[in-house]
């Protein structure tokens, strides 16, 4: 087998944040990750704190709003130094800021650079000179070497030296002594324009400026930037990462990596080309942060995982299946561009012609014992490829449907099984095909996976949670755990010990051991409940593909778990920063193949040999920070003791927290607990906030923890103690006594009531269900038998009408048959609607009234309007009530059409104060409501009776010439007790 491609780098991932994502300004001059994990961003319009998700503006109250930030530093005591252009420097410690400007003795208010040396002195470089801060005291530092010039840059070297760069040169400061650094290589005079000096980890001193980059220690001038001369690019900043990567930021020419004496331009394709780089900062998780002039903030990550994708010629976005090709490569079936072959170096699309050349949507691949490749397609059936010969099987050859979802080679020689989208199963043996298209599989939805067992046996997994077993003669549904009901069975797998594994979308995986099913899901340590692939490598390692990540577990831990000696399984995510670092497993459906030498996984558009993921650069465990606490809505500062003391009368406490993750911040999950109040951990919602109502007197501790995208928890988290002091009169024994008595009383009463009520309810429910089934059956029968025949009559009479046309008017009886059959259908519709228990709720009633009214006025000259509430409460209504309301409503509509001669009719439905109201209003001629003749004509008594039967009321107001309005009302709650006609579900 050809060597797996060199897994080292060559690929970078660059992500940008700009003002649209919350960055205060697109020019970023200074960057710093503090020890708590936050990334601080000094922009041309203020300071922001970044946790991966939100840029929180900081320091507005200290006058930093819209100020140009030039430098950032965290000192040994945790003080954050912020250098500005024109407002001096600020030191922020525990929410308090101390400002240093010219007034306080600073050499100038335009700060250029900040540094702390090994002895804890903080150095402040300004355009007017150098200052030193030590233990709260600021002093001006002046030597002959730095006197004339403003400070351009400061850099603290590892050996205790401070490198001070001025426009005209580099000065070394040590133990209070300054000495101009002399070297033959350094350019002389002001034109040289020095920008900075940098001492690397190996101890080399670098000096750089407008036209040069020098390794002063090695005496080498480096100007071999590719494709252009160094002289044309100003080196602006240098930064080393923990892994030794050496980065150079230039003004206008972007970013370079320096390695083995060579420069490599980086990130050009990703938007860093010709960038003006103002700041570089390496965080402790391997990210390089890049501040640019005008193009925002960027993060660069090195791709550690070499996957096989577009650069090797794979031009597909949807790999659906892979199979070993027995010659050191792989077959790759895609759902968008058909079949490919990967030969170990490059991928080529199928070029052998035949039916395979026309297939684009491949769903599954399988290799049989003779080495034939079976290709399952969506819509084009199955194609068998043996050597160069192709054979296509479609519905014409007996396939139930052409949507093939899975294929598997049976253990009996020459047998291939196929499962289809419509839920049919086929066994193909040579030219013979046997099909199963009835129960128990057909009704279970699409067949998603197949697993051949011993002999001729087969396990079948369906879309609706059903696993069917074929023992060679009979087919039967397996008894599976309840948790699988309705969940798609996504994969079936037999492990090395012969145990069956079932993967599901939603309930994790289950392993059958003897008669028991043992669940392996989120609760047991797996990162997700949506399992999409299970396999075991030759060495015994188990792999679980999920929508979150690909997880692996040692077989020893799996065995211990199945034996009951462990409660959870330590799964390790195989892919760093899933979805962001190379292989994309989050959205697709991993396909797996064992070739002679490796275990392969493919997903979406990439292929990955699993051997490479043994040492993944794992996603860091996120630091958790409690950001703010509010008591009764008021912001409180954090006490230094870590214990917040509160007086009595605490009405609410709110905690705001965050966790820092730069790669997958949306996937960070939180749990919090107020100890002594919450019994258990509470899943926090995405708002990153916890709210508590009134807190009784007592001692509490708020604790919040977080897990990264891979499910690794920071168990330490962050916490804060709370003490709520009791008012004096509330002595503990008094409260205890009251509490105990009340609780006991409530408990006894609740138990008595609920037992009795439950029994009665159960009996009623049983009867109701029997009745509902019967009603549903009647509705169905009427629909099927009478409805379809009537519809036929309607069509036939229409045809008869048409055939006798040609100048002669249709025979009146035929006309009448057409009309009558349609009227009958309408009447039948109303009856079936009333009978069918599916309609026993308010929403169905309102919908039916609406449709009926609309149809009723269609084709009339009336201007009809209707208003319906957007949403309906889930209220059950009896058939009787619905029927009564409907008939009354129909009567009201009839009146509008027949008697009112109204040009305008409107219907308004409303729900108010637990009452449903339907108002039918017209602007017709109206009538005198006191006249008995009119009342009779309008069927008022009828309507009133119907509503009364429904437990409601009917109100009619009208005056001759002023239109009529009829309002039906019935209650939605109180009514249920009195009549038992409906219940709130």
């Amino acid at each position: 087998m050809p060597a797996i491609p060199d897994p080292v780098e060559s690929d970078y991932l660059v992500t940008f944040w700009r003002t649209g994502q919350g960055l205060p300004h697109n020019t970023v001059n200074a960057l710093l990750q503090t020890r708590d994990g936050y990334l601080w961003v000094g922009s041309a319009a203020g300071l922001a704190r970044f946790d991966g998700l939100v840029f929180a503006s900081v320091g507005d109250e200290f006058g930093l709003k819209d100020v140009v930030i030039t430098a950032l530093l965290e000192d040994q005591n945790g003080g954050l130094w912020v250098g500005t252009q024109g407002k001096g420097v600020l030191r922020i410690l525990r929410g308090v800021a101390e400002s240093f400007t010219v007034k306080e003795g600073l050499a100038g208010d335009a700060v250029t650079s900040l540094a702390e040396d090994t002895t804890g002195h903080v150095w402040i470089g300004t355009q007017n000179g150098l200052n030193c801060w030590q233990k709260g005291r600021l002093s001006h530092f002046e030597t002959s070497a730095t006197k004339d010039d403003g400070i351009v840059a400061l850099h603290a070297g590892g050996a205790g030296a401070l490198w001070v760069t001025t426009r005209s040169g580099v000065v070394r400061l040590e133990n209070g002594q300054a000495a101009a650094f002399k070297s033959d290589q350094l350019p002389q005079g002001r034109n040289a324009e020095f920008i900075g000096a940098y001492e690397d980890r190996a101890g080399n001193l670098w000096a750089f400026g407008a036209t040069f980059l020098l390794n002063v220690t090695q005496g080498r001038s480096l100007n071999s930037f590719p494709s252009f001369s160094l002289a044309s690019s100003r080196v602006w900043t240098i930064c080393e990462q923990g892994n030794g990567d050496f980065w150079i930021g230039t003004s206008g020419q972007g970013l370079f990596r320096f390695q083995n004496g060579r420069f490599e331009a980086v990130g050009g394709r990703d938007g860093l080309e010709q960038c003006d780089i103002r700041a570089l900062h390496a965080d402790r998780w391997g990210n390089l942060w890049i501040g640019t002039g005008g193009k925002g903030l960027a993060r660069l990550r090195t791709r550690r995982l070499k996957v096989i994708g577009a650069s090797e010629g794979m031009n597909s976005q949807r790999i659906a299946a892979i199979a070993d090709d027995r010659s050191g490569g792989l077959w790759v079936g895609t759902a968008d561009t058909g079949l490919w072959r990967w030969n170990g170096v490059r991928a080529e699309p199928w070029s052998g012609g035949g039916p395979l050349a026309r297939v684009t949507q491949i769903s599954t691949l399988c290799l049989d014992e003779q080495g034939s490749l079976w290709v399952g397609t969506l819509g084009s059936g199955i194609i068998e490829l043996s050597g160069s010969r192709q054979r296509r099987l479609t519905t014409a050859d007996g396939l139930h449907d052409d949507g093939i979802l899975c294929l598997a080679a049976g253990r009996q020689r020459g047998t291939v099984w196929a499962g289809t989208q419509a839920g049919a199963l086929h066994r193909i043996r040579g030219t013979a095909m046997q099909s199963w298209t009835g129960a128990p599989i057909l009704n279970a939805g699409a067949i998603l996976c197949l697993l051949p067992g011993r002999g001729d046996s087969l396990f079948i997994g369906s879309e609706t949670g059903v696993v069917v077993y074929w023992d060679g003669t009979n087919m039967a549904r397996m008894h599976t755990p309840e948790a699988l009901a309705g969940k798609p069975i996504t994969c079936l797998f037999e492990d090395h010990k012969g145990r069956l594994w079932v993967g599901s979308g939603g309930s994790g995986a289950f392993c059958r051991q003897g008669e028991n099913w043992i669940q392996v899901a989120r609760k047991q340590g797996l990162g997700s409940d949506r399992v999409r692939m299970i396999t075991q490598a030759d060495g015994g390692l188990f792999w679980f593909g999920t929508d979150e990540n690909l997880y692996k577990a040692k077989s020893a831990s799996i065995e211990a778990f199945l034996a009951g000696t462990r409660e959870t399984i330590p799964f390790t995510p195989a892919l760093a920063g899933a979805g962001s670092d190379g292989f994309k497993c989050a959205q697709g459906w991993p396909a797996v193949a064992h070739s002679q030498k490796a275990l392969w996984v493919a997903c979406e558009n990439e292929l990955l040999p699993l051997g490479q993921t043994e040492n993944p650069a794992s996603e860091p465990i996120p630091p958790v920070i409690l950001e703010r606490v509010f008591v009764n809505g008021q912001l409180r500062s954090f006490p230094e003791t870590g214990l917040l003391r509160l007086g009595p009368g605490v009405k609410s406490v709110d905690f705001e927290f965050s966790a820092i993750s730069f790669t997958a911040p949306q996937k960070v999950r939180f749990r919090h607990q107020l100890q002594n109040f919450d019994v258990d951990w509470v899943q926090s919602d995405a708002a990153r906030r916890a709210h508590y109502g009134p807190l009784p007197a007592g001692q509490y501790r708020f604790h919040v923890i977080a897990a990264n995208a891979e499910g690794l928890w920071n168990e330490t988290g962050a916490s804060l103690g709370l003490v709520v002091i009791p008012p004096l009169w509330r002595s503990w024994w008094f409260l205890c006594l009251c509490g105990m008595t009340t609780t006991a009383g409530i408990w006894a009463a609740a138990r008595f009531i609920s037992t009795r009520r439950l029994e009665a309810r159960l009996r009623a429910a049983e009867q109701r269900h029997a009745m509902e089934r019967e009603r549903a059956r009647i509705a169905q029968d009427m629909h099927d038998e009478i409805g379809s025949k009537l519809t036929r009559i309607s069509f036939l009479s229409e045809i008869a009408r048409g055939s006798v046309r040609g100048g002669v008017p249709p025979l009146p009886p035929i006309e009448a048959i057409a009309t009558t059959s349609r009227e009958l259908l309408q009447a039948l519709d109303e009856i079936v609607w009333a009978v069918n228990p599916r309609n026993d709720n308010l929403e169905q009633l309102a919908g039916y009234l609406e449709q009926h009214a609309r149809e009723y006025f269609q084709g009339t000259s009336r201007d009809f309007q209707i208003h319906v509430p957007l949403q309906f409460p889930d209220v059950a209504l009896s058939a009787e009530l619905r029927h009564n309301v409907f008939l009354a409503f129909e009567e009201a509509l009839n009146n509008c059409l027949k008697h009112a001669q109204a040009p305008k009719v409107s219907v308004t439905m409303r729900i108010e104060n637990q009452t449903f109201e339907v108002c039918v209003r017209d602007d017709g001629r109206g009538f005198d409501t006191t006249s008995p003749v009119a009342a009779e004509q309008y069927g008022l008594a009828n309507m009133r009776d119907r509503l009364k039967n429904a437990g409601g009321s009917c109100e009619i107001s009208s005056q001759p010439g002023a239109g009529t309005s009829v309002v039906f009302r019935f209650p939605l709650v109180s009514h249920s007790k009195a009549h038992g006609l409906f219940q709130i579900k």
Partner: protein, 213 residues
């Protein structure tokens, strides 16, 4: 222009009378009449008509599932559901599965011709009760839903008006747009709904539409 129509209905009498009626009607041609969802899934992809008339309530593979699978195999085909009763739940499911509209069988046969022309012209009518279902559908929300799969402000306005019983014309007046524009919004709402309601089986192969079980 002659529109080609195929019928899927397991009631032989009705199937025959509809196809006979279509044959007699000007401007329509009946291509095939299938007696089951299974037959339709085999036949329609090889000889697709402009519009399929599909009975919603067939035994075996029902009209909704058949619609879902047909839309995968032949995405361009328009499917008009035939139903005896105004069953909101079923109609909604059929529309979510990809049907372009529905027709009550009791409607006058001439209405059927109108409806066929309308769906073929890209119209997808939406009634108030259906609109309320669609509102609920989009409110359920899926964490994996992509931004562009959610309704736009305008689409949401149109949907809310429909759900409150407004007629197309009234909605146009309220929003200051033409009836045609309103129809376009409604069609887009349907399209977004289809994206969401593909089953996991289809998602597996047809891409990352973000729907999970």
């Amino acid at each position: 222009m002659t529109l080609t129509v195929s019928i899927v209905d397991d009631d032989p009498g009705l199937r025959d009378s509809i196809s006979e009626y279509l044959r007699a009607a000007k401007g329509f041609r009946c291509l095939h009449a299938y007696g089951s969802g299974k037959e339709a899934l085999q036949g329609i992809p090889t000889d697709p008509p402009d519009v399929v008339l599909m009975d919603i309530n067939m035994s075996g593979l029902d009209g909704i599932e058949c619609t879902r699978q047909l839309k995968v195999a032949v995405p361009a085909v328009h499917i008009l559901m035939l139903t005896v009763y105004e069953d909101t739940d079923k109609i909604f499911k059929a529309l979510a599965a990809g049907a372009s509209g529905y027709l009550l069988k009791r409607a006058a046969p001439s209405k059927m011709l109108e409806a066929i022309r309308e769906v073929h012209g890209g119209g997808s009518p939406m009634s108030g009760p259906i609109a309320r279902k669609v509102v609920q559908f989009f409110q359920q929300g899926s964490p994996r839903r992509k931004e562009n799969e959610d309704l736009s402000t305008r689409e949401r306005q149109v949907l809310h008006f429909l759900a409150q019983g407004y007629a197309y014309k009234q909605i146009g007046d309220e929003l200051g747009v033409s009836m045609d524009t309103t129809r376009t919004y409604i069609r887009r709402i349907y399209e977004k709904m289809h994206v969401h309601s593909r089953t996991e089986a289809v998602v597996r192969f047809l891409g990352n539409s973000g729907v999970n079980s």
